[in-house]
Subunit: 439 residues, 2 copies
């Protein structure tokens, strides 16, 4: 089957790798304008506009806003309606994800310096978080768990989920996942109108402090536009995996690991890098043999042909150079001593260590979050986590002696910035010169 | 002097408070278009465009890009040129800020579950950070320390500072602060062109992974537009303080604390809330008496008249309700038992505890960062910190037994999402059914 073949020793390797991995978010001016119209309408007309957009974009016939609300009983009913194996798996996955995320929780801290001045940070959860869950074909119950559970672990007061129901159809497994994750309220709304409602609030949809979760180009643009009014998570690009293999893993396993990424959509990117040329050929053989056995064969063929690659490196260090250059969302180190090699990784969303850790396990249930930085944003950002639903307030409590000493430092700096009121405010607290107060 | 007077018992209190504190970032479509033109020019023509924009906007006559570089010697020279008191104060402030921030550093962590599967997060610093420092009138050396030191403490490989030099003038104290903070490189460029150069890199200016620091409307818009290519800090609104006082602090101190906020600019907001009506009058008297003694009298009069307020509350709990409603950038708890009351604060950028802790001490040297979430964004965001210059990679290393057990959970979930390659990739790792490999 078709895919790119490169070698790090190729004269044009840098250029070809750059072209292959280039991805820039399309920001369409027309989409931007339509989204800002939708946001304005929701701000001005609230629930009425929300009903109009929902009827138009999701082909529904809603008369009253209450038809867009899914109650707690309906979530529980869905949980009991899905197959038992799915329910058990959802609950097992949720337990593991919850356990892992509990270890991410940040605690308040404080200390006193020699002057008795208290310094620290007070950590608190968000009051309310909004979770966007795509509806229709791309309905992923695992995303509900991965987005809602960190918020719940953080202690967020209320987790509000929105998910469109195109033609009135709601995905039972998604609702069941919401029940398992402890989502507090669900609205069957989607698109830019749902993001606007969460950001600004309507009579029915409560305004939240942060909006997380994936969505289409309208949802992404709406999140960008409401950023500042509320917090948002990263805006995700196509999903990617980079597999590094020393040539000793079963090539069928590696082929299927690449396919598990490629099957997401035509823009997904699956790359294998190895110093073993014969192994790359064996993986190519496995891919050719296995692709026909998969439901999403055509998507896999397209994404492997357009954006996939098998790369021959000089040695394992050369492989790690490519890792740090690409800063991949998913990195699989299918090799001996993977834990040792991982210490050389400077940028990656998630690192899957060893031959028995395919990305798919992390996607569903290993524990860590599957919402990860894409498109090389792992250079500066992190997996979604409990820390995204907590915030910090600095704590400063000066003793009279500490204040006096600090004022001696602050005063000349404030005066160098021509901020006299700052200087005077500080100088009032200088103990040795009580007369300063009367200046 | 003129300012707003409100009482929480007023019939129209909620509305008046909302109007008083309303602030929405002006996003001008024309500014947006000009900024995207500038970014495109920098991407396409690099250093040449950077020289053109700098000459035009900063009224300079630069011929060669090397004229925009400030070397390490020049920074040290500035440090030796400024008055000794300023130098000592800068160094003392830097030492305290560094010490506090060292306590924020996140460490990698990992554990093994009962199956021997390794889980955790690997924490790494950014490779390179960019720091924007406004030039000209609003040149604040303290901002250099507050933005650069957390990056250095995080272990960022290279900290690059940009600051415009209008008419060729550079602020010595700003350069001295860069020397004290250990900034690695400085360019005298500013505006959207500097942000674009940092985000995309030119032949001379290295591309960075994250851009932090305050700036004017063009800088803010440019940061918004490059967000995604690089990380950015929050886009700040006008600075604010909310002082809660039980009526037992010297009213002159409180008046000056309010002024220290109001003197920043005409849009700054300084609000006092107290349950003691007579105390509010005494503070008003102090304000009237003291305002004339200050360099920035006119700015203070304007901001207090437009956006300042003295608010009478029912009691101290009522004061705390206002705190959590406004989520202020700076919160001063000038009252008995401030530490106890602070525990009731859900949202604030920084909490200044007790009568001896004016905001001015935190602005310069107490230790915590002075870059804080404004405009109620403390509801979902935090002070700038070391954590903003670190990122995490999830670690997952399955033992064969652990992988097998996880695959049993992942497989039905993947199949419920119609992701067969995910399911098959997981199933290959099931130990009990070696035949699955041949499916």
């Amino acid at each position: 089957m078709k895919t790119h073949r490169l070698a790090t020793t190729d004269a044009d390797f840098d250029l070809r790798l750059a072209q292959l991995t280039a991805w820039s978010e399309e920001r369409d001016a027309e989409v931007g304008a339509r989204v800002s119209d939708i946001i304005r309408a929701i701000r001005e007309r609230g629930d009425a506009a929300l009903i109009e957009f929902t009827n138009r974009f999701d082909r529904r016939d809603v008369r009253d806003i209450s038809e867009l609300v899914i109650g707690a009983e309906a979530l529980q009913a869905a949980l009991h309606r899905i197959p038992a194996a799915q329910r058990t798996a959802l609950e097992a996955a949720a337990a593991r994800v919850r356990d892992y995320h509990q270890r991410q929780k940040q605690e308040s801290w404080q200390y006193r310096d020699a002057d008795g001045t208290l310094l620290g940070q007070q950590v608190t959860p968000l009051d309310r978080a909004g979770l966007y869950v795509p509806g229709g074909k791309a309905a992923y119950p695992s995303s509900v768990l991965m987005n809602a559970l960190p918020a719940k672990v953080a202690g967020v007061g209320e987790v509000v989920m929105v998910s469109p129901a195109p033609d009135g159809v709601v995905n039972d497994t998604v609702l069941a996942a919401a029940a398992v994750a402890g989502v507090d309220r669900v609205f069957t709304i989607g698109g830019a109108q749902a993001v606007a409602a969460l950001a600004w609030g309507t009579a029915t949809v409560p305004g939240v402090d942060k909006i997380v979760g994936p969505g289409n180009i309208y949802v992404a643009e709406a999140k960008r536009q409401v950023f500042g009014k509320v917090g948002i998570d990263m805006i995700a690009g196509p999903s990617e995996i980079l597999v590094v293999c020393d040539g000793k893993t079963d090539p069928d396993w590696i082929a299927m690991d690449l396919f598990s990424q490629a099957e997401h959509d035509e823009e997904a990117q699956a790359i294998l890098v190895s110093p073993d040329a014969a192994f790359l050929d064996r993986v190519a053989d496995s891919m050719a043999r296995l692709v026909g056995t998969l439901e999403r064969e055509q998507i896999i063929r397209t994404s492997m042909a357009n954006r996939g690659a098998l790369i021959l490196a000089r040695d394992l260090d050369d492989c790690l150079d490519i890792v740090n250059r690409l800063a991949p969302e998913h990195l699989e180190l299918s090799m001996d001593d993977a834990e040792t090699w991982a210490k050389k990784v400077r940028h990656a969303g998630a690192i899957f260590l060893g031959r028995h850790t395919p990305e798919a396990l992390g996607d569903y249930c290993a524990g860590p979050n599957h919402v990860l930085p894409t498109s090389a944003t792992a250079r500066f950002s992190s997996p979604l986590g409990v820390y995204d639903f907590q915030k910090r307030s600095s704590l400063i409590g000066c003793s009279p002696e500490g204040a006096s000493r600090l004022a001696d430092i602050a005063s000349p700096l404030a005066r160098s910035e021509s901020l006299t009121a700052h200087a005077r405010s500080a100088e009032y607290r200088i103990l040795k010169t009580p007369d300063a107060k009367k200046s």
